[in-house]
Amino acid sequence: MNNKNKETTVNIEQVRPDAKMQSITLNAWFGSKQALKEINLTVEANAVTAIIGPSGCGKSTFIRCLNRMHELVPNARMSGQVLLDGKNIYSNETDPVQIRRRVGMVFQKPNPFPTMSIFDNVAAGLKLTGTKKGQNLDEIVKKSLQQATLWDEVKDDLKKPGTSISGGQQQRLCIARAIALQPEVILMDEPCSALDPVATAKIEELIVSLKHDYTVVIVTHNMQQAARVSDFTTFLYLGELVEYGDTRSMFENPKSEITEKYITGKFG
């Protein structure tokens, strides 16, 4: 990973001390192909921010830059800054593992560890980071499953494999796994695209309830989903941030003609 602009000075006027996260002149590349161009975006605390845009516009790349997962891709690089509580997560002193703990990620397809039980799936991250049985592990697993609204459905089957439950339940299990590490921000990359409408509705209800304790950023192709669950919406197009605003305004009266065309299905 070549973070070629680690020493970029942040323009003090751009920094919002009350924001949970901010990207400042964020650029990202895969080899020579630039995927993100000068993205300045504020992620408000305890709110859901949706990222929308056509395929290949840089949505997933953007959220992967928010927890330093972009740098795991061979030939990937970035420039600019990403602030978490005002501090640059790409500074030399920052441990990427700690950042990924503070900024969790839920992926498109539910990906519970196939050889682990439901309980162990939730506890896996905790064990890796040193929490042992007896150190409230049972309590944390239970609380995480409760927050993910899965506890009542699996409380008698905690020893069954994580893959033995339905797709929607597996996705909530993955959310519980992320929650167990007590992150501050949860990134979700199209978390409902592999789910049926009933499972989708449960995840959407969960997303809205999670914002009371966490900051949520969700990438979605589903415009109605963005409208339903998010407080703020960002439209990316060809790697550029075209429009950002409160979700109601964005879907009622977008400022940009390109946004209007995209959300009304006139292109994309």
């Binding site: 009266n253 959300i263 299905g265």
Partner: protein, 212 residues
């Protein structure tokens, strides 16, 4: 390639524009009957009934489009505004019918217009607003509707002046009631023309304004 939603929006637009034509005809016919001393209540009743039916059609179509396509942005603003405009056109028709019914009941085929000069002014301004609102809808012209606020203000002033004159002038009870009600209906039609204008402005700009 046009969107499936576009076909529905075209149908909706067509119905609303037809409503505009019918509403304008209803108001024009009822006023002509009143000013000329003719009973036109049957003609206007047919137009008013047609407008009621068309309003239901617009609502049904609008709900269908919302359910099927979950429209947003300008699509949603158009559907929402067309529902409001359809109701306003229905009210044009209803007040037009009320004018013709009032004239039929109190004056039958007799001319009963009092102070023809002042009544003529409010009639002209109201008809101007009705036509302007329909023209702005046809052209999707948000700027055109802004002048409606000024004209509506003038209608209100004439309405008020006419009431003062009616209060001071001894008239046969039937003529007094007839003129009083007709001028009230005209003032209400002018109000609805501003509502139509507000809805058109919202479609065109996404901003909500008050034209009254």
């Amino acid at each position: 390639m046009s969107r499936l939603l576009d076909i529905g929006l075209e149908q909706l637009t067509s119905i609303v524009l037809k409503m505009g034509e019918a509403a304008e005809k209803a108001v024009r016919t009822s006023i002509a009957g009143f000013m000329g001393g003719q009973d036109v209540s049957e003609q206007v009743s047919e137009l008013s009934e047609m407008l009621v039916t068309m309003t239901v059609t617009v609502e049904d179509k609008a709900f269908e489009l919302i359910v099927k396509y979950q429209p947003v942005a300008s699509d949603l603003r158009i559907i929402n505004s067309y529902m409001k405009i359809a109701y306003d056109f229905e009210r044009y028709g209803r007040y037009a019918w009320d004018i013709s019914l009032t004239h039929q009941r109190f004056a039958a085929s007799r001319k009963c217009v009092h102070n023809e000069d002042l009544m003529g002014k409010i009639v002209d301004k109201t008809m101007h607003m009705v036509r302007k609102s329909i023209e702005a809808l046809r052209d999707n012209n948000g700027e055109m509707v802004k002048s409606l606020a000024e004209t509506e203000n003038e209608v209100d002033k004439i309405y008020s002046a006419y009431l003062d004159i009616l209060a001071e002038t001894p008239l046969a009870a039937e003529d007094g009631i007839c003129n009083l009600l007709v001028i009230r209906y005209l003032e209400r039609i002018a109000d609805h023309a501003t509502y139509v204008g507000e809805a058109i402005y919202y479609i065109a700009t996404g901003e909500k304004i008050i034209l009254r």
